[in-house]
Symmetry: C3
Subunit: 206 residues, 3 copies
């Protein structure tokens, strides 16, 4: 139950993140809905394909798609001023990342995957939707940009794995782990913590 | 039989659409063939992966690939004047979209998917090949641009579902539904019907 | 055994190719690792999805990921002067292409795929990782650019098929076939052999 509620919170967050990015890219209402759906459902579909769940869960149960489509339409109708969009997209994206990475790990563990595989599949289902969104809108994916991103998802997935190994209740473990991911993302965005970039070779030759 | 004939018509249309777009992007003969194959076979491979059909149908039967490769080579050799290319790509794309969305829905229904899942998988197999083509050529996918696109595919998929529920003959239902999709696409392109775009936030603050 | 050694050589080559391309694109250390991993593991994951192997091999066995991550970090730390990068990326890419195309074909044949399907799946697992790398970095994929690329992978796959049909030892067949692919790539790059491009329509009207 708690897990389902969390998953729908993640769907809303990612659908909003995709729709806001699409509005910023000046797409029409259908494009906004398509990008919102792809962002929200993409990670879960990749997860189901990797786990061999056919057809993917989100394509068999209409509430998944309905929630995402309504979210995208609401964003289209009431999208906030342009100055706020950048932060709103990043926050919604952080929540979606946290929920999908941790819920994906839990689901993979329940489906019988080993802890190692479950963490990777969870991380992938967290970063997959956002990567598809950025590919569709022809931006360099967030996951490759400056702030810690895939590592945040992986940290959340490992938290779930540890909690699972300790036999803690799955709902609580997933919620706390998702919060850890959001905290890491917000912290790195707020403090502008960046990972090191390779020194440009030109400077070396000086 | 009729279904197979339709599917091959869709393959030719999508292979031509991909090859024409690749010629316009100044790719060499191999690039043209690869984009043609990806456009024509991509949607069906995505469909088979979502339905759990291993390995995908088009990778097991050589006529699929042969038809697409020959189409791409013919397009490469005899591609029309540049002024006509834009319309030719869009028309071939509409036919491919219609055939794949409706044939994909029929195939998913036959594979035992529920009507809801079958419509989504059909729509995906319709828009998948073209989206891959546009991603490879670094264009914003047609499916996100101004004209009604994914909705046309979904309309065709729903027509198939209704026909299937009424136990009408599958071949006729698929053909008519594909024609509906092509008609919607041609109509929207001809009349320049566009879906609404979100008002830019800058104008609101005036 | 030989097959496993070959596969790890391919992983190192593709991880280095992805990491070098990411360093050239000025990504940070995490971006470099993510692109390295995607390039190295992407083709094999696509192969496993097409063959219905769940979860994909490389997500179940930690040495795959560890080798790729270490390679990417080494490249990040010691990447050579910018003038050499272009050639290094292309050579590493050729080795990865050869190994994955041929090892993928062998694996598909062992998994019971027909020769035709095995060649296509092998070719796909060879070109898949590099195509993902180029999509992530927003370059037109190498596979679509001027030099013979997909045909080299396909040639290697067909060599494996022939060797398999003649019941030659799998390890030797794969090694020799991979060398054939690398030789074709190096030769075409060195001699600047290019496939023909369609004459621009503008020139025709003169």
């Amino acid at each position: 139950m708690l897990l389902t509620a969390l998953e729908f919170a993640g769907l809303v967050a990612f659908a909003a993140s995709g729709a806001l990015a699409a509005v910023r890219a000046r797409l029409d209402v259908f494009g906004v809905v398509v990008v919102g759906l792809t962002t929200a459902l993409g990670g879960g579909i990749i997860r189901d394909v990797l786990l061999g769940i056919h057809p993917p869960t989100s394509l068999r149960n209409w509430p998944y798609l309905a929630v995402c489509a309504v979210t995208a339409l609401v964003v289209f109708a009431f999208h906030p001023q342009v100055a706020r969009l950048r932060h709103a997209v990043l926050l919604a994206d952080a929540v979606g990342l946290g929920v999908f990475a941790t819920a994906g790990t839990t689901l993979a563990l329940n489906a019988g995957a080993t802890g190692y595989a479950a963490c990777l599949i969870g991380m992938t289902s967290g970063i997959g939707g956002g990567a598809l969104r950025d590919l569709l809108l022809r931006e360099i994916p967030l996951v490759l940009r400056k702030e810690i991103y895939a590592m945040a998802a992986l940290t959340g997935a490992v938290c779930v794995w540890v909690g699972h190994a300790l036999s803690l209740p799955a709902g609580a473990v997933t919620t706390v782990s998702a919060a850890v991911v959001v905290a890491i993302r917000v912290l790195t965005l707020w403090r502008h913590w960046n990972a090191p970039v390779a020194r440009p070779p030109e400077e070396r030759s000086l």
